[in-house]
Amino acid sequence: MLQGTRRAPDEILGMIPPSGEVCTVEKAAINAVMAGCMPEYFPVVLAALDAAMDPDFAWQGLMSTTMGAGVCVIVNGPIARRIGMNWQHGALGHGNRPNATIARALQLMVINLGGAVPGGMDRSTHGHPGKFGLCFAEDETDDAWQPLAQSRGIEPGKSAVTVFGFCGTSINNTETARDADGLTGSLSMCLNAFFHPQHAGGGLAAGLVLSGEYWGIYRDAGWDRARIHAALLEGTHRTQAEIESGVTRSSGGASSIPKFDPGDLVLVRAGSNAGLFSTIIHGWGSGPSGSQPVTREIVP
């Protein structure tokens, strides 16, 4: 595993939550071996680890919350193809070694080094299958789609990881939305149901994974990432009357209340080109007081 990096085995990478034990390159490598990684995945693991240790990610909170959060790792750039990652059929599921093992390595580190044992320092009420580790590559095969990493400041041609704290995924389907506006309305309904239909006013993040067919509807209408993002933010505004009772964060009586703060809705392209589906990656508490997605360039 150490052949996958030029970094010294005894280099200290940081402290692993919740307990705050020191992690060296060697300890990261041991856990990567246990996860089933190959040496060529190790630069991705190290970049994801560096991103997860950024205070903005609030990894300690994610690993100890009752909400049962885990780490989703999204890979962009040439390394995804080079190490054989999957961004197509079943990308969020089983059957591909780097997809299955990269985030798993991080989760083993928080167990073995950080002590995040359920019922111990991991206080998850339910947990979720994604706590084993969710990792996939973004589909960058269509130049009309701006990859996630580029939308977050990484230069084109560079490889990067983005870590996103998450509490499970849900799949959504509509086969009646045939144009961009209709699809936006449909996806907005699904996003408004995320976490709880009466939750509004920001404070929670979500990832939205668009399949090939859904992206095709937007692409054919001339929409790009920015326009889809803006339309979904607008489409998830609701009136006070629509969410009258049980709101968890009052917006002070505003007549049009957003579901999301703009930075909390993260769009990603993955999945096969057959199937009118999207997947919502359920985030956690967001913004400066919660967990923010963090992106790091992958250095070989």
Partner: protein, 94 residues
């Protein structure tokens, strides 16, 4: 034929020092109680009520807050708790 196997440890290979829990005081008379709000929704309601109840009994109370429940308490908050309080009540849940 014998084969040599090297086992590697995925943990930190350290054992945390265990400290015994401080014995609870027999009485709160003359002590200072810290009330720590971790910024969970409505934790302040619980602590407001405790402050009233402690006040009715003549017990000194000091209030502290974490900026967010999602991250550990800043060092100055934990240092102040240790320096100024004998007992702490932490409102953990909403």
């Amino acid at each position: 034929m014998t084969q040599s196997i090297t086992m590697l440890d995925p943990t930190s290979e350290k054992t945390n020092a265990m400290r015994s829990r401080k014995a609870p005081p027999a009485s709160l008379d003359g002590l200072t109680v810290g009330l720590l709000d971790i910024s969970k929704d409505q934790g302040d309601h619980f602590l407001d009520r405790l402050e009233v109840l402690f006040g009715e009994r003549g017990i000194k109370v000091e209030r502290f807050a974490k900026p967010t429940y999602a991250k550990k308490a800043p060092d100055d908050v934990t240092a102040s708790l240790a320096e100024r309080c004998d007992v702490v009540v932490e409102a953990l849940a909403d």
